[in-house]
Symmetry: C2
Subunit: 271 residues, 2 copies
């Protein structure tokens, strides 16, 4: 078997800081890969916007990463994955990974062959798109799926307001349907939500497995690198960060909830 190398970085994007939860996982799983991260902080949140607008933003953001000569694109944003991925795959020949299908596959693996109920939480736009419910209905037709929008979790995380009693209560009130009718697996269908994982976990039935996008995407990226034969030749060239607005705030928020993630400099780009 021939082994070819490709030292170009992988592009990863989100509407804001949420995608950093995916980036952190990829950095630890792929120590030799270089990454370029773009947070569309001028236009966050995507989750309350219309499908046409999210699609347009997704293409614009990806275009900027493609100009950085990336070998693959990761949409580390559930809203962009749900609404913009088809358009993006038509737009570029570079391989594109989203978070929806990997997340659904991880949820099914978590059921371990047993029957059970799957819950999905996400933004208004992600839940309204029915992307998770439809993907699950194809992969596991008989499985009952309950979807719920939890839009306030995003600003709470963006503000770093994660340990306040009001946030604990907000999570409890929001997830009441899953307290009343427990599920076996809950997909955290928004890359901001893993920051609240311990709180979410403490409120639900102890047996509930939480699936987040980061681990699911890491597995998909491994498969992509293997099948496309695009391993990097040498060591990592580092991570570059771009935002569309308010770089200082981005660094502050990132430092607060992902202190172990090294963010040396952030460049502001115009979209």
């Amino acid at each position: 078997m021939n082994t070819s190398y490709d030292s170009r970085p992988i592009g990863i994007f989100d509407s804001g800081v949420g995608g950093l939860t995916v980036l952190q996982e990829l950095l630890s799983r792929f120590p030799q890969e270089g990454f370029v991260y773009l947070g569309d902080t001028a236009r966050v949140p995507y989750g309350t916007k219309s499908p046409a607008t999210v699609q347009r933003y997704t293409i614009q953001v990806a275009e900027l990463l493609l100009q950085q000569n990336v070998k693959g694109l990761v949409a580390a944003c559930n809203t962009a994955s749900a609404l913009g991925l088809t358009a993006l795959r038509a737009y570029t020949t570079v391989p594109v990974l989203g978070v929806i299908e990997p997340g659904c596959q991880a949820a099914i693996r978590a059921l371990q062959g047993k029957t059970g109920r799957i819950g999905v939480i996400g933004t208004h736009a992600t839940i309204a798109s029915k992307a998770y419910a439809q993907t699950l209905s194809v992969l596991l037709p008989e499985c009952p799926v309950q979807s719920l929008a939890c839009p306030l979790f995003v600003p709470v995380v963006e503000e770093g307001w994660t340990s306040q009693p009001s946030t604990q209560l907000l999570i409890r009130e929001s997830l009441q349907p899953f307290i009343d009718t427990p599920v076996d697996v809950l997909i955290l269908g928004c890359t901001h939500y893993p920051i609240l994982k311990p709180k979410i976990s403490s409120i639900l039935n102890p047996g509930t497995v939480l699936v987040d996008s980061a681990q699911a995407v890491a597995l998909s990226l491994q498969q992509l690198i293997d099948t496309q034969n695009i391993r990097p030749a040498a060591q990592r060239e580092g991570v570059r960060f771009y935002v569309t607005d308010a770089a200082v705030r981005f660094r502050e928020v990132a430092a607060r909830f992902l202190p172990q993630l090294p963010i040396e400099s952030v460049e502001v780009v115009d979209l």
Copy 2:
């Protein structure tokens, strides 16, 4: 004295639905005036964005209203008023009203000539701009002013999540500095906040006067109409609504928190 008439409408804008609290007040105070409202829902919130971006958005939004042949502009958004007003006044000869100075004047009137402490709450961008603190220091130099960002109040209102116990607790936690050190007057320096007025009021010292932008702006608009001699000749031509995204959601949110405001149709425009 000559009386001239001007039947052109008045333009009013906000980043989202918050400015509707101002519109509602203006509609009841100026029964003969026509209004054009623009909510920049594709780019809400403004309050977490950089000064340069807020300035650019303010000009773009105003330009769209100027194309509607308005006789005056009301920036019914504290963030745009704090950061975009100087640039906007340089851009157009049409008179422009913001919410900062009227709000400060209303706060000083509320002190009724006595000495006292004034508090200001607003978005990150409004508070960081120091626009309220600086205006108050000019108008009433000796008055102690305490400013505090309460950014999570905006998404809570945009979601209509106003009567939940978690919101009550969020308000209490956020306003703790004003519980520890009471003020005589609290300026609600964000047009979303009046929706939470009863909750805010119930948490603070019973003597605290809450000042909102809507009533303050109404007084300034009356002065503007009188000095510029631009009363309308006949009855109101109605209110036109424009948004930059997700018109259905705008109507739903508006109907939820301002049920008495008649929103017949909303047109989506591109910015």
